[in-house]
Amino acid sequence: MRVTLEELCKYFGPVKAVDGLSLDIQDKEFVALLGPSGCGKTTTLLTIAGFYKPTSGAVLFDGKRVDHLAPRERNIGMVFQSYALYPHMSAFDNIAFPLKLKGVARRLRERKVKEVAALLRIGEILSRKPSELSGGQQQRVALARALVKEPGLLLLDEPLSNLDAKLRITMRAELKRLQKDLGITTIFVTHDQVEAMTMADRIALLNEGRLQQVGTPVELYRYPANTFVAGFIGTPPMNFLPGRLVSAEDKLTVVTEHFTLPIPARRLRQPFPGEKEIEVIFGIRPEDIVLGQGAIQGEVYVVEPMGKDALITLRLGEETLKALVSLDLHLHVGEKVNLNFPPDKVHLFEPGTGASLLGGRRES
């Protein structure tokens, strides 16, 4: 099922929970709605489900408006953050509930529940009540209940957030595989960028009710549209430094208090004509900083070994930067170190709007 959001707005009194969200989700696509708490992602999901009426704008399924349809008329499966398993029903009855409401005959009901239970490997626990199930089992039952009626659209509201860290990694891969196997269009709400990056075909990143960027995980990582996206995607987050972009003799240079760096002109989104300079925010990801070479001098302030890599906090005068480098470099606190920012990995943003000044998808 194809899902289209057209200029979707949902206001609660003066609060603009969702503000002008347009998004086109293809059939069989796995899309993550990502953002910090209060960004409007759950409101968006509940509006798609039909629990909220949009203040303005529209939700379309396969090109048809569904705003007048009740949740039960939308052929949606949903997994809630709390799982919302009915506590008075066994796992079997929970899963069979949507079929029972549809009036599916008992025998067919049993067969379908067994099928979906086998798919999710919960055949053994069907007679238990939700309170007798582990978090992971509860999640599978909730997923089975959402899938058993073969919905056109699957909505997942933070489905992994109640699982422990280890199980979360397992379920991430399983959910992704399941979604591809079943080919159900899936919208997935999360505040965890790692979940979104690892699972989704595309990510829609929201902040304060507005869409910041939509694209594949790699696009959001490599070409963040603004400082919010740049700071939200990637761990540890991107380093930002204030600076100026200077154009002289057809050459572009970023000038900060501690270094100057040439920028290839072809990377600019818009040509930068004549002699002038503007304020910019310089950005570089920790993993893109090269240590041990280059003209810029810094001092090692903290070393945090993380196994293969080490997270180094560097001081450039008053500024601090985080760099993710190989542990083999054997850096020590207080050591002076040379560093380099590869010009193709550098990001530049406009200070006022936060918008990226550098081009989108062109590979350099």
Binding site: F51, R72, F97, P98, R145
Partner: protein, 290 residues
């Protein structure tokens, strides 16, 4: 212990002492002369129809059962209806309806009783007969034709006021996701109520059923105020009969024996309820499953 002391003394004096006195009086033939004349089990023999039997006892017993069997479903079903409807509508409208149905409990019993007595007054001065008269219809002698229905409703509405309050607060604690999940699963409003809300109210419903079962078995105040037990014993329930025996006919001994039997029935019911609910579980914590 020290702080519980004073109220313990009060409970002993004003609860246990009267119970023991009643129990003792039940074995006397005490009348308006207030003499302690022990007559053994003569009162109870009369009650159970051994020897000189009381011909009214079977009727009073049936009245009590009919009355309880009528008022209990009115209370529980009415309470569920009001609470579910008021919790599913706009919050302000819900508060208004709950406040409206709480009025009976806020009124003094005498006011509530006379409100019903006046509404169903058999002359054209009663509320419903005034309406009928205005429409050109003949008056109906409500309290003579339908006395039991009227006392059942009067007490049922009183029961609704409490049950509705308990059910509403229980519904308020049901996580919203349960209802949403059911709606996504394809449930209509009625199916949400039937398959999700009512099963989750199991404990409040059981509590209110037990509470009102005992309450109705023992109640007589509103019946006394509305019909006085009449016409001709049509609404004379057990505790009202005991009251009449003791304070109208001054047969304290016999009245006490009627009450003693009721206390025994209450104790048995209480034990049954405690066993069914599990005393420990009931005292332990809130019983709304989440």
């Amino acid at each position: 212990m020290v702080f519980l002391g004073p109220s313990t003394v009060l409970i002993v004096f004003f609860y246990f002492v009267p119970v023991i006195l009643t129990f003792l009086i039940a074995f006397t033939g005490m009348d308006r002369t207030l003499r302690w004349e022990f007559v053994g089990i003569r009162n109870f023999a009369r009650l159970f129809g051994i020897g000189a039997r009381d011909p009214l006892v079977p009727k009073v017993l049936i009245n009590t059962l009919v009355y309880t069997a009528g008022a209990l479903p009115v209370t529980i079903i009415g309470g569920l209806l009001i609470s579910i409807l008021s919790m599913r509508m706009h919050p302000r409208a819900g508060v208004f309806f709950r406040a409206l149905f709480f009025v009976p409990r806020a009124l003094p019993p005498v006011v509530w009783g006379f409100l019903w007595a006046w509404s169903f007054e058999g002359t054209r001065y009663g509320l419903f007969n005034a309406i009928r008269t205005a429409l050109g219809l003949p008056v109906i002698h409500w309290l003579i034709k339908y006395p039991m229905v009227i006392v059942i409703l009067a007490n049922g509405f009183l029961g609704i006021s409490l049950a509705m309050l308990v059910f509403s607060s229980a519904i308020a604690t049901i996580p919203r996701d349960y209802v949403r999940a059911a709606e996504i699963d394809g449930a209509t409003e009625w199916q949400v109520v039937k398959y999700v809300i009512i099963p989750l109210l199991k404990w409040p419903i059981l509590t209110m059923t037990a509470w009102h079962l005992m309450s109705f078995l023992n109640s007589y105040v509103y019946i006394m105020l509305i019909t006085g037990g009449g016409p001709y014993y049509a609404t004379e329930v057990w505790s009202l009969y005991a009251y009449h025996a003791a304070f109208n006919r001054y047969r304290y001994g016999y009245g006490a024996s009627l009450i003693t039997l009721l206390v025994v029935v209450n104790l048995l019911l209480l034990l049954g309820v405690l066993r069914a609910f599990g005393v420990k579980r009931m005292l332990a914590r809130g019983k709304i499953e989440t």
